[in-house]
């Protein structure tokens, strides 16, 4: 089963929920931090990360001896990532989506591919958790291809927990697609509600069952609760704002480590997720 933890809005406690859930379960599991722009789960799981593996994407390499400057590569490219200027063909590697169209269309076979670095993938272990995350290279705009590479590392069977990035656009979709259950983390404020609605919209587009965790449940108002009821989204957990939890978090200490009584609640959360997912026809 793949559980993807998402939030719409950043800073709602997504990483806290994902990491504490993972730390509370005795079953072996794989944890993927797909928030490749700002991966933080390793700070809480304290996994020993191995040697970084460079993640790349293919971009065009033009052989000027073969190129006749016909311009077909520039015509097919939808991303303006390769153009003919004067006597040269100029690829703009950072705009390239690696579709291979230019290589395919070139009548002279003048285009091959070379790798361009997107970032790194690091892997480690902590207790029974196999941990994998991606770290986008600074200045790199393309998060989704790196997210897909992180996801490809997970085995098909067993439990996988994914920490997704915030927002509702392509990086989040890349981290949610194919999951069996989406756990949405929100806070009961107008910002939290607004972004939750967008996240639920994305979940509905993908057609995946979802449930809600409400963090800092005592700060804010009741509108998130009303919305959840209207939409038929089960509230699986509530966490009140407690300064001691916030302080533990600020030091990078997982909640279940600082306050072991929370472990049971996360185990129950997992059971509720299984029930909710199985109830909707998802294999356990």
């Amino acid at each position: 089963m793949i559980i993807s933890v998402a939030s719409g809005k950043g800073g709602t406690g997504k990483t806290t929920i994902a990491t504490n859930l993972a730390l509370s379960l005795d079953d072996p599991l794989v944890f993927l931090d797909c928030d490749v722009e700002e991966p933080n789960a390793h700070l809480f799981l304290q996994a020993d990360l191995g040697r970084p593996e460079i993640a790349t994407t293919p971009v065009p390499l033009v052989d000027e001896n073969k190129c006749t400057l016909c311009g077909k590569c520039g015509e097919i490219c939808q991303f303006k990532a390769i153009i003919v200027i004067g006597e040269t063909v100029l690829p703009f590697e950072e705009l390239c989506h690696s579709c291979g169209g230019c290589m395919e269309v070139c009548p002279e076979d003048a285009i091959s591919e070379k790798p361009r670095e997107l970032g790194v993938i690091e892997e480690g272990r902590q207790n029974g958790i196999r941990f994998i995350h991606g770290r986008l290279r600074i200045g790199e705009a393309m998060a989704p291809p790196l997210i897909k590479k992180v996801r490809a590392k997970a085995p098909v069977d067993g439990l996988t927990i994914i920490d997704a990035p915030p927002g509702t656009s392509c990086p989040v979709i890349a981290a949610m697609k194919g999951a069996d259950f989406i756990l949405l983390v929100t806070e009961p404020t107008p910002f939290g509600l607004h972004d939750l609605k967008l996240a639920v919209g994305a979940v509905r587009v993908l057609g995946i069952p979802c449930g809600l965790v409400i963090n800092r449940s005592d700060l804010g108002d009741r509108k998130v609760y009303e919305y959840a009821q209207e939409e038929g989204i089960p509230i699986l957990m509530e966490i009140p704002f407690e300064r001691k939890i916030a302080e533990a978090y600020s030091r990078g200490v997982p909640v279940v480590e600082a306050f072991p009584e929370w472990k049971e609640r996360f185990v129950r959360l997992y059971q509720d997720i299984q029930d909710a997912a199985v109830g909707k026809g998802v294999p356990a």
């Binding site: 933080n40 600074i138 509702t168 916030a246």
Partner: protein, 288 residues
């Protein structure tokens, strides 16, 4: 005209609440919400929409069954596995590269433009606001961010306003890169946590990479004073100006619930005092 872009690296540090407070303090400005993925500034500014435009970007392949002979060439060529066994294109996986469109021997693939979202020019009690709404599961948020900033700049020029105040997106990827180029200054709002520190360090690298001068302020500093000091020390060592700190204050949440800035909600709160001081420091750095 100068643009101050407020970013955070990590989400949820209080960036938008701070921008809203600045909106109440700054004079002669245009406001821009460049966090198009999760645009929240309008929830406080209550804009009156005066102009609304669709945003089109990119295309998605659509196979027309009547013309398709199921030869399979498109599936062989598609690197995004977007075409199913039954020759339907999954619009979520389709990257819009057009390879299937180009090579289809039957010309059976249509390639319509995507409507990815909307953008608006509005009036608020603090001046003009340019904002946007990215469609769910849509891409090209970087382009929409660029558009929001360009429109804000046009308004600033037309109305002779000296400042653009931009609420930026979180992270370090495509939307943030689109949000910071050419800005006069960046304010990084962070929080005193290991995650806040980690993401602040990454976003300062990004600022340096694009050569935009950055400032840092720690919100909710009293949740972990030691961590706040560590962040500030890192900033100083890297030539980033450290501004005043903001305490953890529920006034931020309470004012948000009623759709007000903290200045309107409780002018005498401790948070207001520090936000005022941060705004003055920013104005000085920008030479406003």
């Amino acid at each position: 005209m100068k643009e101050l872009v407020v970013i955070s690296g990590k989400g949820g540090t209080g960036k938008t609440s701070l921008v809203a407070a600045f909106a109440a303090l700054a004079k002669d400005k245009v406001l821009a919400d460049a966090d198009v993925d999760a645009a929240d500034l309008h929830l406080i500014l209550d804009p009156h929409v005066e102009e609304s435009h669709g945003f089109e970007s990119g295309r998605t392949a659509v196979i027309v069954p009547e013309r398709c002979t199921q030869c399979g060439l498109c599936r062989d060529l598609c690197r995004f596995d977007a075409i199913s066994e039954t020759f339907e294109v999954d619009p979520i996986d389709c990257e819009g590269c057009g390879v299937c469109v180009y090579f289809c021997p039957e010309k059976a693939v249509d390639f319509p433009l995507n409507r990815c979202g909307d953008w608006f020019v509005s009036d608020t009690r603090f001046g003009p606001l340019v904002h946007a709404r990215l469609g769910i599961a849509e891409e090209n948020s970087g382009k929409l961010v660029t558009l929001v900033r360009q429109e804000a700049k046009k308004i600033a020029e037309e109305k002779n306003l000296g400042l653009i105040l931009t609420d930026g997106p979180p992270g370090v990827g495509c939307p943030v890169i689109a949000a910071i180029g050419g800005a006069a200054g960046l304010l990084i709002v962070t929080e005193p946590t290991v995650s806040g520190r980690h993401d602040m360090m990454r976003v300062t690298q990004l600022a340096a990479h694009f050569g935009v001068p950055a400032m840092v302020c720690v919100n909710k500093f009293d949740l972990n004073v030691e961590q706040a000091e560590g962040i500030e020390a890192f900033a100083r060592e890297n030539g980033i100006k450290v501004l005043d700190r903001v305490p953890f204050d529920p006034v931020f949440t309470r004012s948000m619930v009623v759709g007000q800035t903290i200045l309107e909600y409780d002018e005498r709160s401790e948070a207001v005092e520090s936000v005022r001081s941060i705004w003055n420091q920013c104005s000085e750095v920008l030479g406003l």
